[in-house]
């Protein structure tokens, strides 16, 4: 199993790593608009949205041990909830809230049946995958005038065009421009990262990781794995919904392709390539893989699906723990003396998990 190789990766809980990540993110947040033009900024914005999506998947999979193969369901629901909300309300702040709450409610309902049915990991993967496929079919079939929510036509395969952009809360006329959207997306990414780090450092997060390591033992200690898994799943869905909201804003457009299998596969690949059981890994994975897809798509050398497939198979076979843990382990081997705390802490953590 992949997780067995992870124990070391997440037991190293230094404060400086996350701080460095946040500082780098802030530098990028402020610096990017000065360096790059409108086009580059738009590219970076969609990358930030996808990185938030990857964070959600990395959290529930890498730390919660929940194998969700259909995370795109929540991305899509968030995107659609935002589009419908924004078209029906003058102030889009409520739509953002909808984009987070609707996927969370959906996840709560679906998760109740999955986790309280105590089905195996593989079944959870299959059920979530199936849910995203069926949502794709469902939204595809909503073409025609009878399918609308309030003033928002769902539009079937063509989706919803000209979705109103975000505005400053309480002031519907102050709509965000390209720069503003970048600040919102990158700011949201940094906040999500801090939020997840905080959750993982909290008592709740420790129980979640404990359940991933040994569900029976956690249960014998008095924690209900079903409830903790459900809550983890719901948090992931909310963050995915936020990503969907930003993704919709980026193109001012949403269509059923957000529910597609390729979307679900991409986020799995981001996390797997970046590194399970880390938070920075999924972010880097999202950036790296999207860059690869853009290059491949731009040059028409190789079909993007074929490329994604090859990357996924290669990583499962050869580097199942992902890039970031491998690099981290390599650094530790190179400079063991500089980090006495982690080497000391390691046997203790291994003992605890034995």
């Amino acid at each position: 199993m992949i997780f067995r190789k992870l124990k070391r990766a997440d037991s190293a809980g230094g404060i400086w790593g996350p701080v460095a990540v946040v500082v780098a993110g802030l530098v990028l947040l402020v610096g990017a608009p000065m360096v790059t033009g409108t086009f580059g900024l738009l590219q970076l914005t969609v990358l930030a949205a996808l990185a938030i999506f990857a964070l959600a998947q990395g959290f529930i999979w890498g730390f919660g041990g929940i194998l969700c193969f259909g995370q795109s369901a929540f991305l899509g629901l968030g995107g659609y909830a935002y589009a419908v909300g924004a078209l029906n309300m003058t102030d889009t702040t409520g739509a953002v809230a909808l984009a987070i709450i609707v996927p969370m409610l959906f996840a709560a309902l679906l998760g109740y049946f999955m986790f309280y049915g105590r089905i195996s990991d593989a079944y959870i993967g299959v059920i979530t995958l199936t849910v995203s496929i069926i949502l794709f079919d469902l939204f595809n079939s909503t073409s025609g005038d009878i399918y609308h929510i309030g003033q928002a036509p769902l539009g079937g395969f063509n989706g919803i065009p000209s979705v109103p952009p975000l505005n400053i809360p309480g002031n519907p006329d102050a709509q965000l421009d390209t720069n503003g959207l970048w600040y919102a997306a990158m700011g949201a990414l940094i906040l999500c990262y801090i939020l997840l780090k905080w959750i993982l450092a909290s008592r709740f997060g420790r129980v979640v990781v404990a359940i991933r390591e040994n569900e029976t033992r956690a249960q014998l200690l008095g924690y209900d794995p079903r409830l903790f898994k459900l809550l983890t799943f719901i948090i992931g869905a909310g963050i995915s919904g936020l990503a969907g909201c930003l993704y919709t804003n980026w193109g001012a457009f949403i269509s059923p392709t957000v529910f597609s299998l390729t979307m679900s596969a991409q986020v799995i690949i981001y996390v797997l390539v970046g590194g399970l059981g880390t938070l920075i890994g999924p972010i880097l994975g999202a950036v790296g893989i999207q860059y690869l897809i853009n290059v491949a798509g731009g040059q028409h050398v190789i079909d993007p699906n074929l490329l994604l497939g090859i990357v996924l198979v290669a990583f499962v076979l050869l580097v199942p723990q992902g890039v970031v843990p491998v690099i981290r382990a390599g650094f530790r081997r190179l400079i063991p003396a500089k980090q006495p705390s982690t080497t000391l802490a390691q046997p203790v953590s291994q003992e605890a998990s034995r």
Binding site: M1, I2, L67, F69, L110, F113, M114, Y116, G117, R118, I119, D121, A122, Y123, G125, V126, I127, L129, T130, V131, I133, I134, F136, D137, L138, N140, S141, L261, T262, A265, I268, L272, I302, D303, P304, N305, L306, L307, L308, G309, I310, V311, L312, V313, A314, V316, L317, P320
Partner: protein, 288 residues
């Protein structure tokens, strides 16, 4: 009365279709505990094999009933040797690897044949139920599904290979101690499951059309049915196909096919809460 006849016929065809698309997945899952996420793409390969053979002047029946399963069975053999056998005992990794395979096959076929859907002619005409016309091809699907399930059941219960397979399923170590090579059995089983997927793809090609992404249209139903059926391959697939095929076709008739699929999913989600191990996890546990 005619309408009831038509609906009854359609429900029968719906059950047959679900059984046909599920049996290959069920064989691989039931025997090897591997969920093959590339199942839809194996079906897609079967459909393309039928299409290519048919455009080269080969009889359509031979193309879909013989060439498609053999071709996809060989593909399954190669996949097992090159990919799956490194991942036995790592269920999640197998799912990820077969998902990668699924994406890769979609990309590969898009590169070769392009995105546009191709058609395979329907080899039989239609008949009438009172005022309504129904395609005779529905009967073909039902017959092929029954033959596939019955043939597999006979193989498991009557032949020596079936006995060895069942023994390997129950206890691979004991089987190995008695002189059976489990890796060979796994290889053959995976190829058999792939061949059945190819058969399903070939037989359904005239109805669904042939395109690189056609697999996605089937796998949702196939996965739900396998989970609903549980561990016993033939009994589970038959019972779950019957249940889900009925729900799907009936609701589709009352509203739209998409709503039918949603009803199917809802039924399955409620069912895993009540029967987490599938139908045969609680009833008929000793069946095949």
């Amino acid at each position: 009365m005619d309408l009831y006849g038509l609906v009854g016929f359609n429900i029968l065809v719906g059950i047959g279709t679900i059984a046909l698309i599920t049996v290959g997945l069920g064989v691989i899952y039931g025997m090897m505990k591997i969920i093959n996420l590339a199942h839809g793409e194996f079906m897609m390969l079967g459909a393309y094999a039928t299409y290519v053979a048919n455009t080269h002047g080969i009889n359509i029946w031979i193309a879909m009933l013989i060439i498609a399963p053999i071709f996809v069975g060989l593909v399954g053999l190669v996949v097992e040797r090159c990919l799956i056998r490194f991942l036995y005992g790592r269920m999640i990794d197998t799912m990820l690897a077969t998902w990668g395979l699924s994406l890769g096959l979609i990309g590969l076929m898009t590169s070769i044949f392009g995105n546009d859907p191709r058609g395979v002619p329907t080899p039989v005409g239609s008949f009438s139920i009172g005022h309504y016309a129904a395609s005779l091809y529905g009967f073909v699907i039902v017959v092929v599904a029954i033959l596939a399930l019955a043939g597999f059941y006979a193989m498991l219960s009557l032949t020596r290979y079936g006995l060895i397979v069942r023994a390997t399923m129950q206890n691979p170590n004991m089987a190995a101690a008695l002189g059976v090579a489990p890796p060979t059995i796994y290889m053959a089983t995976f190829a058999l499951g792939a061949a059945l997927a190819g058969l399903a793809g070939g037989v359904l090609a005239p109805i669904s059309g042939v395109s690189p992404v056609m697999g996605a249209a089937f796998i949702a139903k196939a996965f739900i049915t396998v989970l609903g059926g549980g561990a016993a391959i033939v009994t589970g697939t038959s019972l779950a196909s019957g249940l889900f095929g009925f729900i799907d076709t009936f609701v589709s008739f009352k509203s739209t096919p998409v709503i039918g699929e949603v009803a199917l999913l809802l039924a399955a989600v409620v069912m895993i809460r009540i029967l987490p191990q599938g139908i045969t996890g609680r009833f008929l546990r000793r069946s095949l």
